[in-house]
Subunit: 460 residues, 4 copies
């Protein structure tokens, strides 16, 4: 890295890219970048060019001489990379719309990370990330992979488990937001508290201590029931049961709402789904994205626009930039990341990927050992990790049975004939991105007429 750092961003045409640029510009002193390669696929070429030009304008407006390169040749970009970030979306937002709407059309949560939709996102993403890893082994074997392609936990786990690539860190913005909002509730700043997170992506809990070492988790929980709290923009804000939180003396992440308040979350999603003026989250994002790209086209714009913050993934890119800078400069910053467990969460296997508070430095993520959970949290966590393992196996092998097992075990999917139908419809809908299931999909297509009949019969 003597001549400066080479960064490669796969899925570079994303609307997040300007946020990433802003993060890099802000950290240039500790992370002297030489060049940034934005990679996308043929179908995303137009967006790549819009956002690429915007990115170059941002650097040009900065004091630093950094070249932004745009390409659809992934291998060209990866050659000798120092850091590779992945933020691509197989099938783009249209696929996510299907992930959400098909389950909802059967009255089922189709959420993009842990629900039926998330499962399919994993099925589409894991084979692609594994092929990227194969390229990296050849073209940049010493590079770090910083993943924020969702579902970030399963994707990171598959990279290590099936890709046998250890230099990877998975990121998520959910913990960042909690650590920014919660301290205010008890009149503190983030620096005045010690946060300990443990669990898996979108399914973790944290406890908080003050600078005297006292546990203040309970105090924060009390305040959560007095004041407004900071849930991520993409999670509907229904309160947890206070008795539950006091019993666990831990604060769940926003995504626990789907599990702890299933009914309300489902109803809310169905409402949005049924309201043509709102639509599912993916549809809302699609609208926002379209607006963002309009803004990016403005040749005079060289700052990240305000609207991006509302996008839902705020701080995502910031976490990525900070992670990269921490590795590069051995900063030992404390960040919550997806990384190999190594025992940090003793209720899961040492080889599982977990999401935990970790110190990030030259050696990558060094997870802080959290200790065992009490039964309820432990049971949830072990169930969810099992679900993830089934999904990963299905993604790699194309085994329909194990995919069905993932659907049945997933607490957001009421098991039964309808669940199986949703699964089959999603397979058909995402056909072009699921080559590993080609045989099963063909079989389903052959039976389609019959299925459609049955659906009709059952739904009437």
């Amino acid at each position: 890295m003597t001549k400066g750092v080479k960064i490669v961003t796969i899925g570079g045409g994303s609307s997040y890219t300007p946020e990433l640029m802003e993060g890099f510009i802000r950290r240039y002193d500790e992370l002297p970048i030489r060049e940034i390669w934005l990679v996308d696929i043929e179908a995303g070429k137009e967006k790549l060019e819009i956002v690429g030009e915007m990115a170059q304008r941002m650097w040009d407006a900065s004091p630093y001489d950094v070249k932004v390169r745009l390409t659809i040749d992934r291998r060209e970009a990866l050659k000798d990379a120092d850091f590779v970030t992945t933020q691509f979306r197989v099938g783009q937002l249209n696929a996510r719309v299907k992930d959400e709407r098909i389950p909802l059309s059967y009255g089922m949560i189709g959420q993009e990370t842990n629900g039926a939709g998330g499962i399919f996102k994993a099925l589409r993403t894991i084979p692609v990330i594994l092929s990227i890893v194969e390229d990296m082994k050849e073209l940049c074997p010493d590079a770090w992979l910083v993943n924020f392609a969702n579902p970030s936990g399963m994707v990171t786990d598959a990279i290590i488990r099936y890709g046998k690539w250890e230099k990877v860190i998975g990121l998520c913005n959910v913990p960042v937001m909690a650590m920014m909002e919660e301290p205010k509730l008890i009149g503190k700043t983030t620096d005045e508290l010690v946060y300990s997170f443990a669990g898996i992506n979108h399914f973790h809990w944290h406890r908080v201590q003050d600078l005297e070492g006292n546990d203040v988790t309970s105090q924060i929980i009390d305040k959560l029931y007095e004041e407004e709290n900071g849930t991520p923009a993409n999670i509907f804000d229904v309160a947890y049961f206070k008795e539950q939180l006091k019993q666990m003396n831990l604060i769940p992440c926003g995504y626990h709402r789907y599990y702890y308040r299933y009914d309300e979350m489902l109803n809310h999603m169905l409402e949005e789904y049924n309201d043509p003026n709102i639509g599912t989250r993916a549809q809302q994002v699609k609208q926002t994205e379209a607006e963002l790209f309009e803004l990016y086209k403005d040749p005079n714009l060289h700052d990240k626009p305000e609207q991006l913050t509302k996008r839902g993934g705020a701080y995502y890119s910031d976490a990525a930039c900070e992670t990269i800078a921490s590795i590069y400069a051995n900063k030992n910053t404390q960040i919550v990341v997806s990384t190999k467990n190594n025992g940090a969460v003793p209720d899961l296997a040492p080889d599982d990927v977990v999401e935990v508070s970790a110190y990030i430095g030259a050696a990558g993520a060094r997870p802080i050992a959290f200790g065992s959970f009490e039964p309820a949290e432990k049971g949830w966590l072990q169930l969810m990790k099992s679900m993830e393992l089934c999904v990963e196996k299905a993604a790699v092998t194309g085994d329909y049975g194990v995919l069905l097992q993932a659907f049945i075990i997933n607490p957001l999917i009421p098991s039964g004939e309808t669940a199986k139908r949703v699964l089959d419809e999603l397979l058909l809908a995402h056909k072009e991105y699921l080559p590993q299931f080609a045989e099963k999909i063909e079989e389903l297509e052959t039976a389609e007429v019959i299925i459609k009949d049955e659906i009709a019969r059952n739904l009437n």
Copy 2:
């Protein structure tokens, strides 16, 4: 035991007692009983007398001189007992009716073992069984406790974990039935197959080998989809997904239907619930029981009547008699029981109670080590054990928060406001049997008017 074995049956007034007697009579040669004490409570005195006289008639018609004693003084009965069996039902069938109907009135499965109903059955039963254990420590410290009070797994676990009583074996008839029916599917007898069960009560799987040591599980699964299979009388017979069973290469127990085919089971239960001519399982059982007691009154009846077999718990008592005889005569019979894990199911803690194939002899149950499960089964099992642990803790401490956690984690209870309402209503409905929750129930009663209003508002 030189003068013959003393057996004490708590809940002796149960309609099952004649089956128990039949089992003991059949095994008298290897289990020389001196006297049998049937114990019940004041409220069950009438039934106790009917069934007690029937029991004595059965012995009198046998070649053996055994005295059946009836009492409502538990401590008198327990003195110097060799074996204590527990088959009592706190709150009797009426309580079970509430366990089932209250959840169903909110569209929720109120099943008596793993569902909301089962949770409340555990809350009522565990404190009573722990007080029996305290009496046993004093009055018959060397006796074996053979439990078939449901939910048998949680009750047995609580006896060891909280009662610190190790000489206990928990029983269930579900595995017996599987082993009687399945072999026929592949043209074999039970003796021609080797069965390995593992899991927890009403949540276990098994694999089967033939006498050449070949796994024939897959072969049985195939046959299950060709022919009629033997589900317990109290489980509605909806088929599992064949792809799922083939993937796991294990056969689930009948109760897995609630988890693997949630929708269909719920719909079926709601249908029965809504049909005044059918009613829930408890209501059906109540009807059967009334008929049975009419039969028992007949002074000329001294044989177990045919109708008892349809009762749903067939072979329950037979398993109990065989267990007792196996301990007494060190028979090393293979029986599936609830017992301390000791590693047999490595995915759970060595101290957890599990339900596994075991050899029963003088040393009690010696569980056969089954080995680790694959992810899906492992995740389910760990979740369910966590749920059990929350329920047991709630039963012992009266902690509302941990009870709420049990409800939320239970896959048969969709979480949210309605779940909490069902929980509160069940607390109120079972008030007299839940002294450990007295304070919370009082608080709920105070708020009752408001609650009722809310319920009305929400349901309309």
Copy 3:
């Protein structure tokens, strides 16, 4: 197996073979053997013929028509075998003499199972057994492998771990002898007690209960200090510390003497080593064997001679015959065997081979879950298993570093320069049987002159 069972015994020229025949003859009714193939290597041809003729005479004197076939073509013999037993000794007794004498020449225990000698026995045996397994996969893929080649634990573990062959059971006569001798101490028969063994080969403990389910381990321990106890013929009889046994409330196997009474065992072995009239165990056995073969030559002998019992491995073959008969006839006999843990010993990994009480039947060995050990036993066991794993890895890879680790961790080998010298000398001494270490041995040979100088310098 319609036409009767085919048994193949590798190392058929062993002096044990007649005991094996006796066991089969006694069990013919439940184990209808068609033919027995005795396999040996070219160098063992003469012994094979002597013992083979003796074996045939034994069958001819029985009421059964069984053909004993002799061959040095292993593959011919394995074709369609039902059971394969392995009792061969790579390098024969001469190799064992070296295993014992080289360590002792440096003042170190050179014992044939857990000590330096046992490590080298494993290095020689494991590659051969793995090649047998490869043949079996091809020629008799449904056969059971019953191993009593020592060190039986490591060999069995390697068969499963590296050979990926699950149908194997490892045997040892040590538990048999304990169960035959101990009951007498408290005036009982074996049938009147329940034995639970757990640990690894030559390193297990057991507890004992009577038919009332009471633990009588402590009672037996007390008696051990009053009367003579039954240690195997090949273990010098020094008493354990009573305080230690009372603390653990378990009875160790005879081989624990090497670990619990290191000093005394070492001194005893050195005494025998230095006494030209006694010699090490291998030398004693060699003498006994020579005598046995003289007897076997007698064309009129068709019974197992008395002298065989003194051989040291008494009951070994009986255990093997009983195991085979139990599998064949699904007898569910309780035998202590080396088999895959599956959780039976929760302090070791589910995939480790352990030696435990098990029920043997058509499905092979079904280990009884023993539960966790207390710290001292747990620590010993985990250490010894780690030692085994290092040895197995060395045997398979020829990695000198991991072999050195095994030596250093082995509690019978005081670590340091001398230990390393013993290791190197053993490598040189067994050169022809350790092709996996060819490179290292060559290196050592080159340096031999220097080494010899150093040895001379150090020993003076």
Copy 4:
């Protein structure tokens, strides 16, 4: 802590105290101390006064106004303490002389931390530390306990396990020294490397990475065999086997010499023991200490004297001061400490105390998850932890059997009659500090005449 920090040092009369003062003076800006209480016992009063006056002189020569208070009233001192450090030595150096010399008189290593001597040090120290913890619960329940009384690992483990006191950190200077010396070997500074330690006190390993994230452990190992390496002053410098280190790809701590090079260490210790001009380590330290106290008496000395560095525990106090400052100022410094595992070392139980790299801040020590070890290291570690657990239990209960188990399992003590004799002699020698063993000691005294006879007989 508004008025400044109150520090209490138990064993304040130690020769280390000036180093501690120096460390506090250097850190005054981040750790504003109000007062320091040096506590000792009646017998140590003279030393306390000498070192206490020296300590006050050091502060008086600094720019800070800190009062050093001397007392033999522990409870007076503990009142409202913020930090308590423990560096006392029950029985002082004379006891350590016995710890070392008695075993050596029987040809056995009597080392003060893991050997027979260390076991007895633990037996003397644990009851005292537990009584301190009881005082703290009453007098300063929010204080942190920073222990460097040896054996630091067992003492810290006992504080949490038996004292139920979680706010404790155990320290040791061994890792500090490795991190100061090793980097030089490869031309780096400590800041240019990432160190990961895991294991237990005086029995840990570490791996090292550079700032590119590459593992450089192997490179350091190579250099260790080329150049001088930095072993602690109190460990004789015999090299490890290079093949072993390369195989593990970890660097052991200096104390592993006792286990990996037993022979050489024993010989070296026997040489020193037998040389009247050298003596055991304790005797050497005693000499050094006497010289130090002479220096401390000089009323003009107000700086830590040079000679203290040679004392053997260099950097010990510095680690303590840095730990306290890191907690107080939430510095998140990386220090290797003894702390509750919480999964950081998955091969041990989550509740065991381990010694690992940790980040120290307001929440105490947050251990970095290290992951599983390979078999050899894993086995050693599990064995040693088991040994520790036996010792702790013996210290708390006075159970002779479990103490004997600790001796037998300890790899530095060849088991047998002699080991038991050493144990008994040590019990007698330390009689006044081992009230928990009063009964056993009395029994031994009664038998003493007989014992002496036996010893004579056996040694001749």
